[in-house]
Symmetry: C2
Subunit: 424 residues, 2 copies
């Protein structure tokens, strides 16, 4: 263990050293590094796929379920997809060096804020090996060094991908040490990593609730996290049902396993009898299980083709990540707001309404990363928002909220041009 | 203790409740609250000064030194100063509600970020009672509720000031509970406060290194801190000595007890013999003790009127907060950069040079909240930077760096205007 900790600290130190140079290397070098990665992912596909094969075989032997196995698996077409994403990041504007809030003070000092990288970003993540490439690429483009610690089940894949990335970026002239990969998956070692605030400026956990909670409680450096999305869609009394039904359907069904998928529908009592039956019928066709409060159950129970169950207290505020939705009838916008305040996770919340004042109140009063009027919460995504790509979605309030794109991986420093000024 | 913790949590809950309404009350009400505070500080000066008198007498009896006593003491003219500062904050633009990065996506969604308050800000601070008013006012103006925990030695003063603030803001229509004051100065209770991340969104410690470290290590909510400034001024080989001497003098002498005051002068060897004697002579006139490395000692020792001592390793990276400066001769800009990297605290660093490339390299490579060319580090201050006022100076990289003004006490939420959009 002593030796493993020492190795870990050596990697941390190397990343910190590299980050100093990375902070001001040219956009051209960074982009070249990214294009090299994209090329090499395909040129070196044999070694990557062979490593991935090992992980998949071990996972299968250990009885991993097919959904998880599918997340773990790489093939040529997936590598092409990853390479395409890398090229897309290369094509994004470089956030580093942007200068803003510039002004000349009355004493002649010219002050401004200059956007600079954070330094070293640490990340711990689960299963999908493409995260190794995604996070590396976003960190590099934003001028940050990165320390990666992937899951045990993808160790061979992640290690192969990290090697490809390291070789590709060094060839472009990016300082060696900019991408560090931890190939020791000892759980104890993670706690040492999370205390390395002398080398790591920000930590991004990506994975389930357990992993995220552990990182927040253990880390001594700032953590930007999220991913847990308990998302509500509120159907106001003045909602257009023609909009409400497809929005709810899309938010729940289009990709139920992700954090911006709908969990709970709140329906105003005045529109419940008209809106719930067609909405439930649509959800039912997609196999969605509906957990109803008493009032919605009374409205829906005559439709025998639906999978209905009575909701329990635990269903409110639950992130289902599956084809399950909770439904509750409320008597007012106030009650809906109160429910969201109590059970929401600050991720994405929507109102469906044709009433202007209700829409504006919802925007004002809902405290979440993303607040929608008449749209599906599924849009909460760096790509959809035009940020190009994201390392995750923050449900915290500090530093950055919602999708974390390139700009959100930076900070600023004040730069002051003087000509001999002293303070009176 | 049980009861004290319960009371603490009641205050936390009340602040959280108040913060919901504070988030969207009008600028007019917030400004009226601030003008009320300014008026009442003067109208109720007798009770404030009587409370302060108690603190000062107790402090004197306990043998508090005169500098500390002076910081604790209030009189009518100081109250007028505080009231003036409050009115200045009222006159600043309201950061809340500003909408930025608005764009219309190809699917017709209109997305933007809207600036919103953080929610509830906790603060723990030492001695100066004006901090009670300063922090309250900045938090209120930026739409945040606040929980204040001042030092034991200023308990009566802080309590009186907090009462005046609470009465004044409630009269203006600010939700009751927006300003919470903790009058129990039990040290154990602070640790409970620092774990109240269910009610407090951000914590700002203001005080000495011990207090700040304790808060960072204990708090479960994000902490924005700083205040510790180990500030260097580097005299490059091409420096204009006519600028260098007054800048160093100002940075060290104008107010030596604050975080942006100079601690160490680094001098390029090529200019050391010409620049150090006049600089040391000026510093010497103000009674500054100079802790010299061997080479600067050799240059200066002939001037018998100077207070010179040999620097020890501990003098590098030390925040003196007194009329003491360390001086070191370096052989290159690289050596200066390396010294700052090793010993700086990421606060404020300056280069004095007429060489353009050296200036630009210093700006690029120094990783600090504020980087100066040819100016005194004493300018690092919200007021000086045109932010109007500040709750502190952050030396961290996340969320905000340097002076924390009104905007830095806010976050944003994404607001999305749709017309029925669903994700493909």
């Amino acid at each position: 263990m002593e030796k493993a900790i020492e190795e870990l600290r050596t990697k941390g130190k190397a990343a910190k050293e590299a980050s100093r140079h990375l902070a001001y290397i040219s956009t051209e070098i960074k982009n070249q590094a990214l294009y090299n990665i994209a090329d090499d992912l395909l040129a070196r596909k044999d070694e990557i796929l062979a490593a991935n094969q090992k992980d998949c075989q071990a996972a299968e032997a250990s009885g991993m379920d097919s959904a998880m196995l599918d997340r773990l698996m790489l093939d040529e077409s997936r590598l092409e997809g990853i390479a395409g994403d890398v090229r897309a990041v290369a094509a994004l504007p470089d956030p580093v060096g942007e200068t803003f809030d510039m002004r000349t003070l009355s004493n002649g000092l010219i002050i401004s804020r200059r956007r600079v990288p954070l330094g070293v970003i640490g990340s711990m993540y689960e299963s999908r090996p493409n995260v190794t490439v995604d996070i590396s690429v976003l960190c590099l483009k934003s001028g940050n060094a990165v320390i990666l610690r992937g899951g045990k089940e993808a160790l061979n894949s992640n290690s192969a991908l990290a090697t490809v990335v390291q070789d590709a970026v060094t060839r472009a002239g990016v300082p060696e040490g900019a991408v560090q990969f931890i190939d020791n998956t000892d759980r104890e070692l993670v706690n040492h990593l999370l205390k390395m605030n002398d080398f790591i400026d920000m930590f991004i956990p990506r994975g389930g609730e357990g992993l995220i909670r552990h990182v927040i409680e253990t880390a001594t450096m700032p953590v930007v996290s999220g991913g847990i999305g308990v998302c509500h869609t509120y159907i106001d009394s003045n909602a257009d049902i023609e909009k409400a039904v497809p929005i709810v359907f899309n938010a729940k069904v289009q990709r139920p396993t992700v954090c911006n998928a709908l969990d709970t529908v709140l329906v105003h009592a005045d529109i419940a009898e008209r809106s719930l039956p067609p909405m439930a019928a649509e959800l039912g066709k997609a196999g969605v299980e509906i957990r109803c409060d008493q009032r919605s159950l009374a409205i829906l129970k005559s439709n025998k083709s639906l999978k209905l169950t009575a909701a329990t207290e635990e269903d409110w505020g639950k992130e289902f990540l599956a084809l399950i939705a909770a439904v509750k009838v409320v008597d007012s916008l106030d009650e809906a707001l109160e429910h969201i305040r109590t059970y929401g996770s600050g991720h994405s919340e929507a109102i469906i309404t044709e009433n202007y004042s209700a829409a504006m109140r919802f925007l004002d009063e809902v405290d979440a990363a993303c607040v929608y009027i008449n749209a599906s919460t599924r849009f909460t995504d760096g790509g959809q928002f035009g940020l190009g790509a994201e390392v995750g979605i923050s449900t915290g309030k500090m530093h950055a909220r919602g999708p974390l794109g390139l700009k959100e991986l930076t900070t600023y420093k004040w730069i002051i041009f003087g000509s001999g000024q002293v303070r009176e």
